[in-house]
Symmetry: C2
Subunit: 461 residues, 2 copies
């Protein structure tokens, strides 16, 4: 305790809370995963500037005290849950929008600003920041970078990695590495920002970022489409990709069980009747409202003529578009359709294999647990599939279901985490997606940047 | 020599050439920069598969023999020029297109395939591989990745880093790290491919890659536009970016001296008369031939009505488009306009500052050397500016000109290398674009991956 008083002295009393001043419950859990029982938080630090983050890390490194970096705690794999006695470092006070450079179309922002704050600031400046996900109100932009967040517009704009031009990070030993690059092209040695993006706080703490801004889209076209099978989904995707020239922003496949639960949960007459093999929610973000909707409808009509599309509903207003999207966004309403509690998966398999993978995964589940209820859906144009297995007396433990699904993903050379990361929850399955040589190289990088292993120990690797 | 016999034994006689069997001249120089006088090539290795690359590196690492990886030798900063007695490892025999996965829109290819081979293979399979640069016939795709190549379509499709989904690399100690990911989303720990892209062969040798393919563009619209000043260039760029929804593929600014030399070199009546403040060559790659050209022309007409555009020529055929592009592509013809020999620069500055930077750089040059002839042009939408200074009796040494330009770039917080890399030629100027903390972190990464410093020593850092 007297040692921690020293941390408080070094970083500032206004920054470091100790003992009863720590409100521990708010630091013990992300959106899904809790810290193990009995883990102690030694200190909770709320730095207000990069130099304070540096002072905290330097002290923790010198004293071999583990550090758990925390953003908005909207993750789902326990990446921000403490697992050992540690100092929690929350970025929530570092939330300033420092600059919007209209000519460069960039925003420089502190890591603790929420995603929604960033989106709104871009909007007010006449720009568009395309990353979007359900936790936007609480998720912090630094956390979005640390987890390489995805979401619903990856097809059009990429993941968070593609939206970061530069960043500043503090290494385990307190070194501040400032690479606040604003330029699209910069081949001056190693691209250091890549080390910290997606590293889930194990290689450094991101303190500031330069984000890439886009022009606001002028049009949105949305359709719900029914198909006879997976091959037709690939054919439709190909037509949309080549016909829309990069404006295609979503292609969300929904298998029939998901579609039924979604419309049931929303207590709504399905826009297209049940009974089709597959449903797709697709979306374009364009620049030319009049021409775009004609182009979009022509492609879908052409696919219908070719027998690829069985039925389609095209949104005629943004309210209709939202109504169609709400079916895809129904997982928040699973409890209302009695699909609850559930175990969720976020995996990738190469897109050509996805139809077969779904059939195999479903077969493995039901041959082991004949009454298992599993829903399949996802951003398939990004190779990304979500699976939701209802947890009830008909299935085994979460661990058994994890074992089954992740082994199948490994067998198909897929990824056990498409966009959620590894954190705590998926660490033991990482070997299904990464070879021994890859894991050894990750450990080499970890050892080089954090030789004492103080940064978010027990996560990722 | 007997030691090198041992290398030959380990890696195979068909792979390793020694002594008089080495044709040294072809390994001593990239497109511009030569190895220092008297450098000896101990062996030249031409592996045919990854295992042979691994065997070579393991042997070199055990024996502390430097390795110079070589691709097509089309670089311009000496990244592939040997600087010490070394084993040259050329990837030219590893040139197979291993797979095109049409559903995933990916190509798996060995590192020694030329860019042109990759482009053609994509085309034959009904796809488009967008990276393009003048050296396409000789440049190897592994070298494109190692240097994070750019070119003329970065605005639309990104740099090489954005086109690589996965790769395989051999580390200095011979470890093969295979990460041939085909999926757009894969958040399973550190994104290891980023270590090798842009590292110029100092962290590993790339042996295979998974490339992202795109649908073939269905339309191209090209215009040459004259403007009154830099602010109008930014205004026009903003209109094109928001009006074309991501289909804008080039925005190449040409200052008047460049435009004059370009049209002179081509011996052609300028499509737009000389005397304007700036010229822009702009290009879109779209998906809808009929609608695209109308959309493109409407934006330019609107900018003319708003007084942003002074004059414009819109290509009515692909032959006309090529003719307009040939002005921008004139640097190959500089000798014909007596702008030769010349010293070229490839720098970035934040786009809003670029107009002022050009004026300052020109002022610095002419106040030091009043009769200096300097041409300015570049991919300004990517923040990328090229400068060409004629080397004649009116200016100082190359070194003096380098010192002047790079110091100015540093003062404007720019990048001393936008797309060409650091190699040998820019190493002593790296500190203008990278802080001590960044350089120290690069060295930490280098030491972790190549503790004996055998891989391309003396390059980058």
């Amino acid at each position: 305790m007297s040692a921690l008083k020293d941390l408080q002295r070094v970083a500032g009393e206004h920054v470091v809370k100790l003992g009863d001043d720590i409100f521990a419950p708010r630091h013990m859990k992300d959106f899904v995963v809790s810290a193990p029982e009995g883990v102690e938080i030694l200190a909770a630090a709320f730095p207000t500037e990069t130099a304070e983050v540096a002072a905290i890390l330097r002290w923790c490194n010198d004293n071999r005290v583990p550090v758990t970096p925390q953003g908005g705690l909207t993750g789902v794999v326990g990446g921000a849950a403490p697992i050992a006695p540690c100092v929690v470092v929350s970025l929530e006070r570092m939330r300033a929008i420092e600059e919007i450079d209209a000519a460069a179309a960039t925003m420089t922002v502190q890591a603790g600003a929420t995603l929604e704050t960033v989106q709104n600031a871009a909007d007010e400046a006449g720009f568009f920041f395309p990353l979007d996900l359900g936790g936007r109100g609480a998720a912090q932009i630094g956390g979005n970078a640390s987890t390489n967040a995805g979401g619903n517009r990856v097809l059009r704009y990429g993941m968070m990695r593609d939206l970061v031009l530069g960043l500043e990070a503090v290494l385990a030993d307190g070194t501040v590495v400032t690479s606040l690059n604003k330029m699209l092209k910069n081949n001056t040695g190693y691209d250091l920002k890549q080390l910290f993006i997606g590293a889930e706080g194990t290689l450094g703490i991101i303190t500031r970022l330069v984000l890439k801004l886009y022009p606001k889209p002028a049009s949105q076209c949305t359709a719900l489409v029914a198909l006879n099978g997976f091959d037709d989904a690939l054919a439709l995707l190909g037509r949309l990709k080549s016909g829309l020239g990069g404006a295609l922003s979503a292609f969300e496949l929904m298998w029939p069980d998901f579609y039924r639960v979604g419309t049931t949960a929303l207590d709504r007459t399905p826009p297209i009747a049940e009974g089709c093999a597959l449903y797709v929610l697709t979306d374009m973000l364009g620049a030319d409202p009049a021409a775009d909707s004609e182009r979009f409808e022509t492609i879908i009509a052409g696919a219908a003529e070719a027998g690829i599309v069985v039925d389609a509903v095209i949104a005629k207003s943004s309210a209709q578009a939202r109504a169609l999207w709400s079916i895809r966004d129904c997982p928040g309403e699973f409890p209302r359709a009695q699909h609850w509690p559930q175990l969720g998966f976020d995996v990738s398999v190469p897109i050509g294999d996805m139809g077969a993978f779904v059939e195999e995964a479903r077969g493995l589940l039901t041959s082991r647990w004949p009454k298992a209820q599993a829903l399949f859906f996802g951003h398939i144009a990004d190779s990304n599939l979500h699976i939701s297995v209802k947890l009830d007396e008909h299935v085994g433990s979460e661990h058994e279901i994890d074992d089954l699904i992740y082994a199948a993903v490994g067998a198909w050379r897929g990824s056990i985490s498409a966009e959620h990361g590894i954190g705590l929850a998926k660490r033991e399955y990482l070997h299904f997606s990464r070879s021994d040589a890859e894991l050894a190289l990750m450990r080499r990088i970890k050892a080089a940047l954090d030789p004492n292993g103080i940064l978010n120990p027990g996560k990722v690797i």
